[in-house]
Structures are given as structure tokens and as C-alpha cells.
């Protein structure tokens, strides 16, 4: 397990800001869902913010990521515009995907986000292909694939990690172990105690990190990204975390006890933890962090208002978006 390292004030505040933005975005999304303004389904990233924030802080705009059905956090951490994200959830023409994708398919290709993915493990080979592009074209770009513990049991995980290892691709595989594959606890899905051990089988480093601690994630991902960027090949990073909400909004969570939910949600809160260590290390004051929180709340309000003002996505041009050329 990689241990946390000391970081400077600017980095600490940047990480905190991203994590707080993700948490606030998820809270507002759930509210909008409850108001029947969001259609379909959403999967909250609350509780896992340290992973997206800590990993993406090591990435450039021209680095690529692939994301998951629980993708809002990755999207925000990679620099997405909140208004366009809300507009997508609200089915507006101004949304990232003009209402075609919704929560499970937000992409932001200008920022290197190759898309959330509704198929568990679907993004792993795609990130591998992006890393192949970087290697083939001789750039120093890096591709990061975010996926959950559930995806680590898909065939795409095996095939992709092997390809990346034999070809020494600039890829980082970030397994977010949030303790459940939908309703199946990890203990019943893995006979190994540490998913990172699987890296040995592919001939790449496997790093197990406390996904609650953004400093630890930031440090571990920093090493993996540097390794990829300098041509030394892929890394598997497994970050332990806890999903605060159910699998999806409205999940009755029959597979968890109330004690677990209430206890773990308090015990595993990377945002609360970050506030604690930032104060303890005297990197910022309570007032500083309150100001960050307030600014983000204002930003979220503005983003929702901007999204709600936009016209609904038009169905007229739907067939035109199927093909790039006719």
C-alpha cells in the first residue's frame, strides 16, 4: 500500500476543489433526479472522489481517459464544464452529447475524455487502443482507464492488460474497488485478497492504494503516469473506496445493512478526510475551505440554471449523427 505524502497548498486546494465539485455535482444530480428532471438512471460517484481527483491531477488535457457508468467524477476531474454536463443530464441541445448519451455516455473529447461507458469493462480496451495511438505516433501522451472491481472480472480486463504489457503501452489501469459489483460484494467475487496481485500475471507493476486518501492516490498515480509517459509501460493501480450511494439512484440496497451504510459512509469519506488533513497540516483555514465550498455551490447553481435555460435537444437531426460520412 502506497502511503500518503506531504503536498503543497496549491495542490491540496486543487484536489479539494475537484473533490468538492464532484460531491456537489452528485448531490445536485440526485436532487434533480428526485424532481423527475433527469430521465433514465444515474450512478453516484460520491465517496470515490479521491480517485478521480488524485489520478487526473497528474494528467494533461491531451492525455486520454476512459470512464465508466459511474462517470461524473472522472469527467469533472478531467476538466469538463459543469453546465454542459447538467445540460446533458437534462436532455438539452447544449449538453456534451446533445441529449443522445445522458449520464452513462458523457464524453468530452476536447479534454481527452473518450467517454463514460454503460458496459462494465467496455472502456478498458479502448484506453488500451488510445495508448497504442500514442506509442504508434511517438507522442508522450498517456491513456488512463478507470473501471470498477466488477470490471476486473470481465474478459476485457485480461485481454487489455496483457496487450498493454506485451506492447509496453503508455497506459494506466485504475481499478476503483468500491466494494460492490452492483450488489455483489468483492469478497464473493475474488478469491485473491488484493486485486493488484493480478498485475503480476501480466508482467506489470500492481499498486494497491488507499482510495480514500487523495494524497496517496495522487502519489501512486503520479508514479504510474510518469512510468507510462517515459516509455516504461503500463501499471495497474487498485484504489480501495466505498460507494456512498447504491449502485444507482433509488437502489433499495437490500444487499447491505443499515449499520454498514451509515457507518461506512462516515468512516470512508475522502472529502471529510481531506478537510481534516488540510487543516491539520495548516495548508488552509476553515474559512478558506468554506469559501471554496461556497464558490462551488454558486458555480453549481449557475451551471444548473444555464442548463435549464437551454432548449431541449432537437430530434430532427438524430439520423445525421449516426455516421460521420454518408
Amino acid at each position: 500500500m502506497t502511503t500518503a505524502e506531504k503536498i503543497d497548498r496549491k495542490t491540496a486546494l486543487d484536489l479539494y476543489r475537484v473533490m468538492r465539485t464532484i460531491r456537489s455535482f452528485e448531490e445536485r444530480s440526485m436532487q434533480l433526479f428526485g424532481e423527475n428532471k433527469i430521465w433514465g438512471t444515474i450512478h453516484s460517484y460520491a465517496g470515490e472522489e479521491a480517485i478521480a481527483a488524485g489520478v487526473c491531477a497528474n494528467l494533461r488535457d491531451d492525455d486520454w481517459i476512459t470512464s465508466t457508468h459511474r462517470g461524473h467524477g472522472h469527467c469533472i476531474a478531467k476538466g469538463a464544464d459543469l453546465g454542459r454536463m447538467f445540460a446533458e443530464l437534462l436532455g438539452r441541445e447544449t449538453g456534451y452529447c446533445r441529449g443522445r448519451g445522458g449520464s452513462m455516455h458523457i464524453a468530452d473529447t476536447a479534454k481527452g475524455n473518450l467517454g463514460a461507458n454503460g458496459i462494465v469493462g467496455g472502456g478498458i480496451p479502448i484506453a488500451t487502443g488510445a495508448a497504442l495511438t500514442a506509442k504508434q505516433l511517438g507522442t508522450d501522451q498517456v491513456a488512463v482507464s478507470f473501471f470498477g472491481d466488477g470490471a476486473a472480472n470481465q474478459g476485457t480486463f485480461h485481454e487489455s492488460l496483457n496487450l498493454a504489457a506485451i506492447w509496453k503501452l503508455p497506459a494506466v489501469y485504475v481499478c476503483e474497488n468500491n466494494q460492490y459489483a452492483e450488489s455483489l460484494p468483492v469478497k464473493r467475487a475474488f478469491a485473491v485478497d488484493d486485486i493488484a496481485k493480478r498485475a503480476d500475471g501480466y508482467g506489470m507493476p500492481g499498486v494497491h492504494v488507499d482510495g480514500r486518501d487523495v494524497r496517496a492516490v495522487y502519489a501512486a498515480a503520479g508514479e504510474a503516469v510518469a512510468r507510462a509517459r517515459t516509455g516504461r509501460g503500463p501499471t495497474l493501480v487498485v484504489a480501495d473506496s466505498y460507494r456512498h450511494e447504491g449502485h444507482y439512484y433509488g437502489d433499495p440496497r437490500k444487499y447491505q445493512s443499515k449499520e454498514e451504510i451509515d457507518g461506512w459512509r462516515r468512516q470512508f469519506d475522502p472529502l471529510a478526510d481531506a478537510r481534516t488533513w488540510i487543516l491539520a497540516d495548516r495548508l488552509a483555514s476553515d474559512a478558506d475551505l468554506d469559501t471554496v465550498d461556497q464558490n462551488i455551490a454558486t458555480e453549481i447553481d449557475r451551471a444548473v440554471a444555464w442548463a435549464e435555460e437551454a432548449p431541449l435537444a432537437s430530434p430532427i437531426k438524430l439520423p445525421d449523427d449516426v455516421y460521420a460520412s454518408h
Binding site: 486520454w64 476512459t66 449538453g95 456534451y96 452529447c97 446533445r98 441529449g99 443522445r100 448519451g101 455516455h105 464524453a107 468530452d108 473529447t109 476536447a110 473518450l114 467517454g115 461507458n117 454503460g118 458496459i119 467496455g122 478498458i124 480496451p125 479502448i126 484506453a127 488500451t128 487502443g129 488510445a130 495508448a131 497504442l132 495511438t133 500514442a134 506509442k135 504508434q136 505516433l137 491513456a143 474478459g155 476485457t156 485481454e159 487489455s160 496483457n162 496487450l163 506485451i166 506492447w167 449523427d321 449516426v322 455516421y323 460521420a324 460520412s325 454518408h326
Partner: protein
């Protein structure tokens, strides 16, 4: 071949179908550094059907990227590479293996552009081959074009001649959408005149491979050759069949098919894939909807039996349309 489109006369020579494909790959790779080939056994071995023979020596192991046996990994890597600036050509050894890669084909390659509101493009070609006739039995002989035709976002190409194979592959590689390029294992060693140098056959254009006035046979892939043989036999009985080679199933060249049907008033759709849910049903329905008043008889379909492909040679032949079957049904239709 008769009634080809008017084009400037290019020097041609006789090539096998697999040589024509090889030439298209070589020319496109010379033309565009972003084109890479990725798949199993494609390097020293030259591909299971020798389509990539010699390309390793010409382009090296990074552009002729041989992979482990990992179908979904290969196709998914091609999707990611296509999204980020390469133009990968995947070789999937048998179309029957597409099941292993189907998520990346259907949920990713085909839909990324649409799902992301037009932000992305996926310029990749998935070359593979299908069809029976070589004793490879049920897991290596299917004709699965209907699977791909049913997915919004894919283009679907099935060339029957060496010249079309070359021209359509070049166009597919230059296309900005995912193209499923289905070859037929028994076409690889068929020969035909192939233009030298750059040769492009546009996607979405069918071709009349034989002109006739009495009925239209609409078909694709290896059944085009069967239909031409059948037409020669029919001609000796005074029946002139027009053979339309669809070439590109998606997008479908409705105009050319309808023009032919409006001339002959009778249509037979032939394909090797099983009849139930086959693409022939789509073609027949399209004709019925668009040219009902021009028809003198209901459209007929001649297609594979609804069984897996059996192994033994005589059994194998018995489940897919042969030349005699086309002659028989064409006569029923015309009489």
C-alpha cells in the same frame, strides 16, 4: 464482367482476390501513415488467408501488429486507436469469432459517434471472412451479415470480385465510420482483372454484373458468382437474368436495385446466410414497399437452410444455394 461503370481505362492485370486485398492494404498504408493492421497471424504467417503476406517486411511489426488470440481486446484497441487518430484495419480470422468481440463492435465502435453527440469518429475497418464450402463446419462457416446490418452505426461491405475487393477496401479504409468488411473464404483464390494503382469503389453503390430483361437476381459475395453461372444456363433456355451485386449492404443502393426491378418486374434475392431474418428479407421488403406496382410476381428469396453449417462436403452443399437451385427458382419465377 459486363456493364461496369464508365471510368477512365486503367491498366489491369489478373489477380487473386486475396492479392487484390493485399494490394489495397499496401497502397493505403503507403499513402497514410495512420493506417495500421492489427490481428492474429498477420505477420510472418501473412494472415490465415494470405491477405497480409509480405506486409510485415514492407511496413514492420508496429504497423503490422500481430496480436495474441484476444478478439475483444483487439477490436477494442482498434476502437480506441481510431478514436484517437489512427486508422486501424482489424483482421478477425473468422466472422464466427465476432461473437467474442461483439460488445466492442456493437456497443462501442458503432455507437460512439452517436452517443457522444457527434464528438467522435471511429475510422476503423474490421475485415473478416465467412461462408461455407471448405469443410470447416459450424463454428467456422457462417454468413453473419444480418447481425451487423441490424446495428445502427456500422457500414457493411461484401465484395464478390478481386477488383471490387481492392476498390472497396481502399474506400473503407478512407471512410470515417466503422466498416465491417466481409470476405468469403472461397473467393480468395478466384481471379479477375484488377486496375493497377489507386482504385476506389465507392461505398453505397451496387453494380449490375450482368444485364438482362426477364428477372433481377439481387445477391452478394460468393453467390454473385453462382448467380452469373446460373444466368448463363438460363440464357440457354432463353431467360435473360440481370444480376445485381449489392456490394455494400449498408448503405444499400436502393436506386440501382429498384431501377433493375422496374425493368424486369421480377426479383429473386439470393444469399448464403440462413433465410430466417436474413438480409434478403430486408431487400425483398424494401422492393415490395417501393416498387410493388412494378412487380409481376411476389419477390422470391433463396437462402441457406435454417441449420448450422454441417461438415461433410455433400451435406455442406445441401444447406446453401447452389447454381442449380438458382436456375430452378428463377425458372419458377419467370414462368
Amino acid at each position: 464482367m459486363q456493364a461496369t461503370e464508365a471510368r477512365a481505362p486503367a491498366a489491369t492485370r489478373e489477380l487473386f482476390y486475396n492479392e487484390a486485398l493485399n494490394e489495397a492494404l499496401r497502397l493505403e498504408m503507403e499513402r497514410d501513415q495512420r493506417v495500421i493492421v492489427i490481428g492474429e497471424d498477420i505477420a510472418e504467417h501473412g494472415g490465415a488467408f494470405q491477405v497480409t503476406a509480405g506486409l510485415l517486411d514492407r511496413f514492420g511489426p508496429t504497423r503490422i501488429r500481430q496480436t495474441p488470440i484476444s478478439e475483444i481486446g483487439i477490436v477494442g484497441a482498434a476502437v480506441g486507436a481510431a478514436l484517437t487518430g489512427l486508422r486501424p484495419v482489424v483482421e478477425l480470422m473468422y466472422v464466427d469469432f465476432a461473437g467474442l468481440a461483439m460488445d466492442q463492435i456493437v456497443n462501442q465502435a458503432a455507437q460512439n459517434r452517436f452517443m457522444f453527440g457527434g464528438q467522435a469518429r471511429v475510422p476503423m475497418v474490421l475485415r473478416t471472412q465467412g461462408g461455407s464450402g471448405r469443410g470447416n463446419a459450424a463454428q467456422h462457416s457462417k454468413s453473419l451479415e444480418a447481425w451487423f446490418a441490424h446495428v445502427a452505426g456500422l457500414k457493411l461491405v461484401m465484395p464478390s470480385t478481386p477488383a471490387d475487393a481492392k476498390g472497396l477496401l481502399a474506400s473503407s479504409i478512407r471512410d470515417d465510420d466503422p466498416v465491417i468488411f466481409l470476405e468469403h473464404k472461397l473467393l480468395y483464390r478466384t481471379k479477375g482483372a484488377v486496375p493497377e494503382g489507386e482504385h476506389l469503389v465507392p461505398l453505397g453503390k451496387a453494380e449490375v454484373k450482368r444485364e438482362g430483361r426477364d428477372l433481377t437476381i439481387v445477391t452478394w459475395s460468393r453467390e454473385v458468382l453462382f448467380a452469373l453461372d446460373a444466368s448463363a444456363q438460363l440464357a440457354s433456355d432463353g431467360i435473360e437474368a440481370e444480376v445485381v451485386d449489392v456490394r455494400t449492404l449498408v448503405p444499400l443502393d436502393k436506386d440501382l436495385i429498384l431501377a433493375s426491378v422496374r425493368k424486369t418486374h421480377r426479383v429473386l434475392v439470393v444469399h448464403e446466410a440462413i433465410r430466417r431474418g436474413g438480409y434478403g428479407a430486408e431487400v425483398a421488403a424494401m422492393i415490395t414497399e417501393e416498387a410493388f406496382d412494378d412487380l409481376d410476381a411476389p419477390p422470391r428469396r433463396l437462402a441457406g437452410l435454417e441449420t448450422p453449417i454441417p461438415y461433410a462436403q455433400h451435406l455442406e452443399k445441401s444447406v446453401v444455394p447452389q447454381v442449380d437451385d438458382i436456375v430452378r427458382v428463377a425458372k419458377e419465377l419467370v414462368v
